[in-house]
Every structure is written in structure tokens, then in C-alpha cells.
Symmetry: C2
Subunit: 167 residues, 2 copies
DNA sequence: CTAGAATCGTTTGATATCAAAGCATCAGAT
DNA sequence: ATCTGATGCTTTGATATCAAACGATTCTAG
């Protein structure tokens, strides 16, 4: 984004914070991506498999909703996972429009191994910050990630999320 | 990323911080992207034009370095900008391998208008945080974005960057 | 029962992003 | 002068990401 910019101190502060946010996220994610690619997975594929691992088999439509991806993109990612024998499609009998996606045994073995490794790497990446700093970062980002929400709605969500956030 | 995970408090903290970081960045960038698309520009195209605006005409190679993008990708982005009459290519005479990219008058008018609007929107997005929070976020992200750098190197860069960071 | 609307997944077109291969050009050594 | 290695850009192949259009299936109203 801006490599050079002028403006008020206020603007500079905001732009600088944003640039650093984007760069940091990019940089960390790039390293995580490399790790996954070492296992023959893309980030998107990992996301699908991780969701199936933790939430169980589900339709493509549901996957798209949970991962915030378009239908067309889910189709492509599943196509590639299927090609590698990591997932299988199962068309439902009660509603033949719906295809439920299952991990194959091969896929299950892979994600069961890769997921903890990935989590460990995230731990390592985030360990550049101390525990309090991680907490601060989390808090700030949660506040930022709510953009566009109304005030009263925010308050309600805040309470609900706090109880389920520990997961 | 992880929708459900188990592990030590330490791991949970790190994963949670990371997830919120990624989500916040994503969410803010999605909104910024929509704004640019309203002007007929993609994020990548905006990046190229912004660099040309502030740093002047430069080769594709240099653009790729500054924007951290691959050569092939730069070619595509420039192709599309050229198609829309926003930039033009100029092969050099001293070294005919090199193509310098220039903003066209149309391109210049557009980026001169769009850039400040974009900056304003970033200001608005970041204003969900107060000045001190923005500073904190910037500091934390800068720390995080340095992953993989050695300690002594970090110290040197830290000093140098502090003096040039105000830009 | 039938027609129209809604839903699910796929296809299409556009853009992005990378790595690797390919071609033209340049620089340096012999 | 010639050859080899390096450089800049383009092309190719693979994957991603979206919106819109499309076809099959299901649901609902009349």
C-alpha cells in the first residue's frame, strides 16, 4: 500500500498502523503457507480439511459459509482435494442437490498429523510477542475486525463471544 | 483457520491472537477492496499506480521488488492497467530488456483522486481504535512482521527504521 | 397437479499469485 | 570476435477467488 504519503499526523498514524498490520499478517501467513505446501496442501485445502476434522462431514454449501468462500471456489478446492484422494463427495438421497464432503482415511491421517504441527508453528510465530502482547493484539484486532457493526449489536456480541471464545 | 482446537493455554492464546489478526486484516481489507472496485481498480492495480504516483516511473522488475510480487504477476497487472489506458509501457534504448512503466494522464488523474479517498477510508477503518491503540497495534505488528530475522540484525534495522519510518 | 421460486453445485469469465520455462538482450571473460 | 552466464519480461501451468449464469432438484402457492 502507501510507500509514501503526506497528511496530518492523524492520517499518518492510521496509515502506518494499517500498513504494519497488513505486512505482519502477510509475512506470518507466507511462512505458514510454506509449511503447508511442504505437506502438499494449500491454505484453502487445509482450511477445508481442518473444518471437516473438527466439525465433521458437511455439505459444500456449509463449508463455503464456514470458511467464507464462494461456491465456485469450494468446488475447485474440493476438486483438487478429491484428486489427491484426501476427501470424497457423497450425494445425499433426501436432497439430491446436496453433496456432503467426507475426509478419506488418507485425508484423516494427513490432517491429524498436519494440524498440530501447524498449530505449533503458529505458536512459534506468535511467540515473537509475549503473552500480554498476544492478548493486546487479540483484543485490538477483535475490535478492528468488527468494523461496520452497530454499537448496540456490538455490545451483545461482545458478551456472547466472551463465553464461547475459549472454545 | 482453527474453528475448534484444544491445547495448552499458551497454545490457545497464540492461536486466538493469530485468528483474530487474520480475521481483522481480512475484514478491513475486504472493505477497502470494495471501495477500489467501485473505481474499477483491483488492489494489485491500485498498488502499482500508487507506487508510480509517489515514486515515479519505474521498470516492471522494480515494481515487482517494491510490491513484493512475482514477475509474471506484474506482467498481468500491467497488461490489465494498459488495457484500461491507465499506464503505458516504454522499452528503454540503453537496455532493451527493460520496460519502464508510466502513468498515462488518465491514470494520473484517477490515482490522484482515488489515493486520498482510499487513505481517508483507511483512516476511517482504523478510527475504530484510538490513537494510542493504533500506536500499540503498529508496534505489535512491526514486531511480529520481523519473524525470521536474527537478533543483532533486528537491532540494527530497528534503529535505522525508526529514523525513516515517519516517511 | 402444475408453474414459479428457491436452493445446491458446476461452469464460465475475469483477475490474481506463484514457480518454472522460454526468449531476447546485456555483460564479462577468453 | 565469440561464448557463457546473468538479467528482464513473457508465457505456461497450477491454484485461488469472485460474480454471474446455468442445470438439476426441491419447495411452495394456486
Amino acid at each position: 500500500m502507501p510507500t509514501h504519503f503526506e497528511g496530518s499526523a492523524e492520517t499518518k498514524r492510521a496509515l502506518s498502523a494499517f500498513i504494519n498490520l497488513a505486512r505482519a499478517t502477510n509475512s506470518v501467513q507466507a511462512r505458514l503457507t510454506v509449511q503447508l505446501e511442504g505437506e502438499g496442501l494449500t491454505v484453502g485445502q487445509f482450511g477445508v480439511m481442518e473444518a471437516l476434522l473438527h466439525l465433521g462431514p458437511m455439505s459444500q454449501c456449509t463449508l463455503g459459509e464456514k470458511l467464507l468462500r464462494s461456491g465456485g471456489n469450494i468446488t475447485l478446492v474440493i476438486d483438487n482435494l478429491e484428486k489427491h484422494g484426501l476427501v470424497r463427495r457423497e450425494r445425499q438421497t433426501e436432497d439430491r442437490r446436496t453433496i456432503v464432503i467426507h475426509l478419506t482415511p488418507k485425508g484423516l491421517r494427513l490432517i491429524k498429523r498436519v494440524f498440530p504441527e501447524h498449530a505449533k508453528m503458529i505458536l512459534k510465530e506468535m511467540s515473537q510477542l509475549g503473552p500480554n502482547e498476544q492478548e493486546d493484539l487479540r483484543r485490538l484486532c477483535r475490535k478492528l475486525g468488527r468494523g461496520g457493526k452497530s454499537g448496540s449489536e456490538k455490545t451483545k456480541r461482545e458478551k456472547r463471544h466472551d463465553s464461547s471464545e475459549s472454545q
